[in-house]
């Protein structure tokens, strides 16, 4: 990115947020890093009627974008992007914007609770506008809670203690990793539904197979001329959507070259594919052979010897199996072959199949053919974040299956859960809820009363992210090595406590190895110990003479990053010499329809508790507040289905009843359901709304251990029932037929 992004360009972009930057540096005295004053006692830098701005990190997904939050008199009012942060350069996505609806969510956990498993943590209420509600009353104080954590640590053997954490590689993950390394308890496991639907393990495994070492590839979409994406929904939720969207804008509005071409291969048109110049509705399971056939045809078009990787494939067979005509394949290969900056991206449902690893390898091999590694508009390994020596990927679904098995077998006596909601996010067939029964003590640190908290013995709520200290490593996106910093934007609303503080205090109480592993007075001291080594780094965005000043800058700028390009170039000497299999994916189940679950672009895995995210129309269907199944209009007609008719979908793992949306841009043999709804807890806005497609997923994995979530076949039956879907498109034009009206 260095030749794309000069420092001058960076400053120009940063200048857009110049006003914000000016205020940032007026963030108050350095002493703020240890002192937390309630806003009843106004600090001297807060004036009535004037806003104060704080830089922090977005925690709505694991990308780690920088935020600047506008506050006034102790209240957070508006979230904006941090223009300084190289990852998002002042921009945010819809989920980042709605962070405040989480902070002010009416159903947050208000304090430490000793809880009977299965009991509700708030009263059920279908009316989202109801003011009266009864949340579970905190029935412990934090001293007792800390003691409970200390007892759990002290009274069990190290191998009986497990931590399950969210996807983000943050300071708490580092703290627990340090604790585990010193005491022998199980190393923390990170997981999130997004990592499952992104098939992150497959991506890094494919990179390792081709290039000899693992890591998360970074695709420089902005510098490319031609982009072929095999299922990667990089404009929605994939890896780092804000930075990839910026890349896409660069592809399109290229100033020095022609408008870039973008082609998407997938069976259902996602909102990413909606932006493509050409959408290729290929038959699910044929992605690997299509990529290899393109590789072969590109070699032919260029008049070079066909590399070993592409030699096993016959384009004529591929054309008949995939549903793309041979002429179209040749046309596409021509586009790829004639470009000097072609890029191929593997991702999404293409990797979530039985042959996902082969797909990822075949698509990466196309990049080797384009010789774009380490070049502008090509493939890199993402820059490693500071304090990181190698890429740490989240757990794959198979590793989660093993984890759940250990729980069910009683190998874990204590389970700590933070930042993830496995009961909802994992497929129902994995039965995490039942596996929890094998664990004697489940302690949840959930901020919101989610499904996993409902199944816990204790809920010791962490602060909301806008009330928290911390940092988060930026795993992919920018050219630089970035550590996003977090600081409290408002004082905690409820009697919550930082999980890091609870663990540090509990370790002191537990004594022995635990106390020596975490010799800190509080979270902030721990953070300072982790940030201090950065002072010695060269090419730093800022420098400071002493740690106090350095920490103050760290908060004011919202983190620390290098000014140099940290991306690494993969070794590609063997990439094209490998044998690659053009075999089709295998599908589980009996039905006649391919089943494609996809992550809701607006809500993702954890947005359902924010009412404004519920009311954002889905970019492709414009449906709000519910779940739908997308069916091709021709198929729907054959089955006698209209919009809003409820169908029963049966897979080998489960049954789901969902209303139909006749979607014109999906293969007639494929159906698709968004993931994100179907909660049985998680606040009044999420509960009882829509359905969870993970209920239909069986336990099938690809070679890298990721779930073959797009490798199922399902049956559809008409039920005769109806459920009107709220959709924005019905009001375009004049007032159409609305919800509940006679048709």
């Amino acid at each position: 990115m260095s030749n794309k992004f000069s420092r001058r360009d960076f400053l120009k972009l940063a200048g857009v947020g110049a006003a914000t930057t000016a205020i940032l540096t007026g963030c108050g005295p350095a002493s703020r890093f240890v002192k937390r004053e309630p806003y009843m006692q106004m600090p001297e830098y807060t004036y009535n009627g004037l806003s104060t701005y704080y830089a922090t990190t977005c925690r709505e997904c694991a990308a780690g974008c920088g935020l600047v939050v506008r506050t006034s008199q102790g209240r957070a009012l508006k979230v904006e992007g941090n223009a300084n942060n190289p990852l998002n350069l002042g921009k945010t996505c819809a989920r980042g914007q709605a962070t405040l609806q989480g902070l002010y969510n009416p159903n947050r956990v208000r304090g430490p609770i000793k809880h009977t498993r299965g009991e509700r943590l708030y009263t059920a209420d279908a009316n989202p506008f109801q003011d009266e509600f009864a949340d579970a009353t905190p029935n412990m104080d934090w001293d007792a809670a800390t003691q409970a954590v200390a007892d759990a640590l002290k009274n069990h053997k190290p191998e009986e203690i497990a931590f399950l954490m969210g996807m983000a590689p943050d300071h708490l993950f580092d703290l627990v990793t340090d604790l585990a390394a010193a005491t022998g308890i199980n190393a923390p496991v990170r997981f999130g539904a997004l990592s499952m639907f992104e098939s992150r393990a497959t991506l890094s495994q494919a990179a390792e197979n081709l290039f000899g070492h693992g890591g998360l590839p970074l695709f420089d979409v902005g510098g490319a001329e031609v982009v072929f994406s095999f299922g990667a929904n990089f404009l929605e939720t994939w890896l780092s959507p804000v930075s990839y969207t910026r890349g896409f804008a660069g592809l399109r509005e290229a100033k020095t070259k022609q408008r870039g071409t973008f082609i998407q291969f997938e069976s259902r048109m996602s909102s990413t594919a909606g932006k493509a110049d050409e959408w290729m509705p290929i038959r699910p399971g044929t992605e690997a052979m299509v990529a290899l056939a393109i590789g072969k045809l590109v070699s032919d078009a260029r008049g070079i010897t066909v590399p070993h990787a592409f030699s096993d494939v016959d384009p004529v067979v591929v054309a008949s199996r995939s549903g793309i005509a041979l002429a179209t394949l040749q046309h596409l290969a021509g586009i790829f072959a004639n470009s000097t900056a072609a890029l191929a991206i593997p991702g999404g449902a293409a990797l979530g199949q039985s042959n996902g690893l082969a797909v990822a390898e075949a698509v990466l091999a196309l990049n080797a053919l384009a010789e774009n590694f380490g070049r502008h508009g090509g493939v890199f390994f993402s820059a490693l974040a500071p304090n990181q020596t190698e890429y740490q990927r989240p757990a794959s679904a198979r590793e989660m299956q093993e984890f759940a098995q250990k729980m069910a077998d009683g190998k874990f006596k204590v389970l700590f859960v933070h930042g993830v909601n496995p009961v909802f996010e994992l497929p129902a067939s994995l039965d995490f809820k039942n596996a929890l029964k094998g664990v004697e003590q489940v302690i949840s640190f959930a901020t919101f009363p989610d499904e996993t908290a409902f199944e816990s013995d204790y809920v010791f709520p962490d602060h909301h992210s806008l009330e928290s200290w911390g940092y988060q490593r930026v795993v992919t996106g920018p050219a630089q090595s970035v550590l996003s910093g977090a600081q409290p934007v408002v004082s905690p609303f409820y009697d919550t406590r930082a999980t890091a503080d609870v663990l540090i205090a509990a370790a002191q109480l537990a004594g022995g190895e635990f106390a020596t592993a975490l010799p800190f007075t509080d979270e902030v001291e721990f953070l300072r110990s982790k940030i201090a080594p950065l002072m010695e780094e060269k090419q730093s965005f800022f420098s400071a003479p002493d740690l106090n000043t350095f920490t103050a800058y760290f908060q004011q700028y919202g983190g620390w990053w290098k000014t140099s390009d940290g991306r690494r170039v993969p070794n590609t000497s063997n990439a094209l010499g490998r044998e690659m299999s053009p075999a089709e994916a295998k599908f589980a189940g009996e039905g006649e329809f391919f089943f494609v679950p996809f992550v809701s672009p607006t809500m993702a895995e954890a947005g359902a508790n924010k009412p404004w995210l519920q009311e954002l129309p889905d970019p492709t269907t414009t449906v709000m507040w519910n779940t739908w199944v997308e069916i091709n209009p021709v198929t729907a007609e054959e089955l006698g289905l209209l919009d809003d008719d409820i169908v029963k979908i049966t897979s080998e793992a489960g049954v789901l009843e969902v209303p139909v949306y006749r979607y014109p841009a999906i293969r007639p043999d494929t159906i698709a359901i968004p993931f994100g709804q179907g909660h049985t807890a998680y606040s009044r806005y999420a509960e009882g709304r829509g359905k969870n497609p993970a209920d239909l997923l069986g336990q099938h994995f690809n070679e890298a251990g990721d779930l073959a979530f797009a490798g199922m076949k399902v049956k559809i039956e008409k039920t005769g029932k109806q459920q009107p879907l709220s959709r924005l498109e019905s009001i375009m034009g004049v007032y159409g037929v609305g919800l509940g009206e006679e048709k």
Binding site: T92, Y104, F129, E236, T245, E615, L739
Partner: protein, 244 residues
């Protein structure tokens, strides 16, 4: 012939008087809804729930339109089209309001909605060719503590009142106040609307159209810009770059 003449007359007057304008590049808009969320967060817009939004009562001040062309497999999604109040120079909503609640601001050259004058006839919404006005069919409550998020710079609307995009007039006024106190004009890029600030693709550009040097003025001069329903003579202040 006579009608055409009239339209060209108003066009001239608008070119002299337009002040704030917006350019939206549909080619890079990804339809991600960040602008919709940002607008709702900035402007204290109520969410209305599933049933009312199904009746078309959702209060989006900006929405992303997408249409379909052709049939499978030759189906194409048209370029995402963010639609918001076009701040017309010659607005069709204004003359039909019996209460003068929808008026043209001479100072800002924007369409104002004066909430405490509005009596809820909804004539303006019926007369708006862009369908960008939202009516408060109920008092939509924000259960505590959601109300903590309310922006103190923006009025909270109640039942029976029409509302719409204001080009974030509170931000315009704030920037003008700051500039005035420093004895200067507002500088291009000094502030922007909530939607433009959030947009991850940078598809929305906002600024002064009466300043020929501003970015938005430069963009508006590009030949592929179009204004929607311009043939109605509404003189919209939003320019679109078509996709593809």
């Amino acid at each position: 012939m006579a009608i055409e003449l009239k339209i060209s007359e108003v066009k001239m007057s608008a070119e002299q008087s337009g002040k704030w304008g917006m350019v939206i590049d549909q080619d890079i808009c990804t339809g991600c809804q960040a602008c919709v969320a940002a607008c709702a967060m900035e402007n204290n817009i109520s969410f209305v729930g599933e049933v009312d939004s199904g009746y078309g009562r959702s209060m989006h001040w900006i929405r992303i339109e997408r249409f379909w062309e052709g049939e499978y497999p030759e189906v194409k999604m048209t370029a995402n089209q963010p639609m918001l109040c076009q701040q017309c120079g010659h607005a069709t909503c204004e003359p039909v309001c019996p209460a003068f609640a929808t008026v043209h601001s001479q100072a800002e050259q924007l369409n104002l909605q004066v909430y405490n004058r509005c009596v809820g006839t909804r004539y303006c919404a019926n007369n708006c060719p862009y369908q960008v006005r939202a009516f408060n069919w109920r008092d939509y409550k924000r259960p505590e503590p959601l109300s903590n998020q309310l922006n103190p710079d923006v009025t909270v609307r109640r039942v029976g009142v029409m509302e719409k995009c204001t080009f974030c007039i509170q931000r315009i006024h704030k920037a003008q106040d700051v500039a005035k106190s420093e004895g200067r004009e507002v500088v291009d890029g000094e502030f922007t609307t909530a939607c433009a600030q959030a947009c991850p693709a940078n598809a929305i550009t906002f600024g002064r159209v009466d300043d020929p040097e501003s970015l938005v003025s430069q963009l508006m001069k590009q030949s592929h810009g179009v204004k929607h329903l311009e043939e109605l003579g509404t003189l919209p202040n939003v320019t679109y770059f078509k996709g593809g």
